[in-house]
């Protein structure tokens, strides 16, 4: 009997690994070996050991921003099931709380970016908010589709033991939801084709540019929060797309972990095969994902 708390701790521990895996896949696709998969951990440790430098133009908003972001995202993690294993916190409508906590984290990040008074950060903040405003309704549509198909109202029930049956009955609807969820993952986590995490041109950045003035432990917390967010979305996608619910928790967990690794690999492949979209086309992409999710809901409601 795997305690839900263990699932939570597993998520906390393994989150930075996804980032490392994506970078490794991209490097292999480009013909290089790339940095070690555990590199994010080394980076976090290095940043944590450094001293903090804060701009004189910032205030307590900036100081607390990184802490709130990390805390909110970690709290959101507590709601996410690991494949068939329940999350520590599960109740009807917890998907809404998940979206709310992620929004809180994003809000704190945006505020701390704007608090620096730099125009670069302000530009990144406005882009981030704009795209998230489009992505959140689509995420809710995906949740609605999955809830309708599986009949549960909390994330753990939706992605719980009833999922294989739901795939059998509403396969098309869930496939569309999974596709939309993948696009949302790319959009919310600032991946290509929405944002290039490896760029060094500030004018083209969305997520990275908001962290320009963070350093040391602040930056470590922000990076960790981003990794947690990527893990959360990856967990949701793997939970949806890999309907292995044998009842043996160890097996389900192993399948789930394989699923998250696969999701990371797919993100890496997508990143290495596409170029980043024009900023004006990103809303089109997100609305397209929304159309898929909406169609999935329509199919689910009809049946």
């Amino acid at each position: 009997m795997i305690a839900p708390a263990a699932v939570f701790l597993l998520g906390l521990a393994l989150a930075p690994l996804t980032g490392g895996l994506i970078v490794r896949v991209k490097s292999l696709a480009a013909g290089r070996t790339g940095p070690p998969i555990l590199q994010p951990y080394f980076d976090l440790a290095r940043l944590w050991r450094k001293g903090t430098v804060r701009s004189t133009s910032t205030s307590w908003v900036f100081a607390s921003g990184s802490v709130i972001t990390a805390a909110a995202t970690a709290a959101a993690l507590a709601l996410v099931p690991a494949g068939g294993v329940r999350a520590p916190l599960a109740f009807a409508g917890d998907a809404v709380l998940l979206v709310g906590l992620l929004a809180l984290g994003r809000f704190a990040m945006v505020l701390s970016a704007m608090d620096t008074g730099s125009s670069f950060e302000g530009m990144g903040a406005s882009r981030e908010t704009a795209f998230s405003a489009l992505a959140e309704p689509v995420l809710m549509l995906v949740v609605a589709s999955v809830a309708r198909a599986s009949g549960g109202l909390s994330l753990s029930e939706m992605l719980g033991p009833g999922l294989p049956a739901a795939w059998g009955l509403h396969g098309a609807s869930l496939a569309l939801a999974a596709a939309a969820l993948f696009v949302i993952l790319l959009a919310e986590n600032a991946r290509i084709p929405v944002d290039d995490p490896a760029t060094h041109l500030e004018l083209t950045m969305i997520h990275e540019v908001m962290l320009l003035d963070h350093s040391g432990p602040d930056l470590a917390l922000m990076e960790y929060a981003s990794a947690l967010k990527l893990w959360i979305f990856g967990a949701l996608l793997a939970g949806l797309a890999v309907p292995v619910r044998t009842g043996w928790e160890a097996l389900d967990l192993a399948a789930f972990l394989a699923g998250t690794a696969a999701a990371a690999a797919v993100v890496g492949l997508v990143e290495s095969s596409m170029a980043r979209l024009q900023l004006a086309r990103v809303p089109q992409l997100v609305v397209g994902a929304g159309a898929l999710a909406a169609f999935g809901v329509v199919l689910g409601v009809r049946a």
Partner: protein, 216 residues
Amino acid sequence: MTTLADLLLIVVILVDLFALASSRLGALIRIVALQGLALGLLPLIAHHEQLTWRTAALAGGSLALKGAVFPWLLLRATRQDSVRRELTPFVGYTASLLAGVAIVGAAFVMGSRLPLPFPAVSDLLVPVALSTTIIGQFLIVSRRKAATQVLGYLVLENGIFVFGLTLSVRMPALVEMGVLLDVFIGVFVMGLAVRHIQQEFDSIDASQLTHLRDLP
């Protein structure tokens, strides 16, 4: 249980939504060809128990026409167009996509109000037919380029074809062949017209075709 027929019909709707969102002419022509292919396979699946020469001929004919002949005609007609993109449609792409989703939703609602009096190969037939028809008309109305309007007409005909499938076992083959023939000649003539428009106006921007009017 999602059957193969259901899957093909879902592909049809996904193609509709993609056609609403895309601005590249070449991609549009190919994606509508894909829709034609999916529809050509449907009669074979719908009647796989009683496969007759007639059904096979119909499926083969529409596969050939919609999958190969029409895209070839349209690609040839638009070859000289220097800008193979629909840059400024009357209704923007995001708005078109949202309208498309609304149309699909409305079509499903209407489909639930109009149940077929006999069992058909899939429940999705009536909603898919209605939504594809309306989305085809929307494409004709909201796009500037004459070639995109012809593609909208093709999507419209595809929608009607889906509906015809509910009855194909009950309608004589001659009629369906006649319909196919008419669509073929129609697209052929339209392709010729697009070529003439291209030569006459140096572009296939149909918003230039507004000379004749009574109300300014």
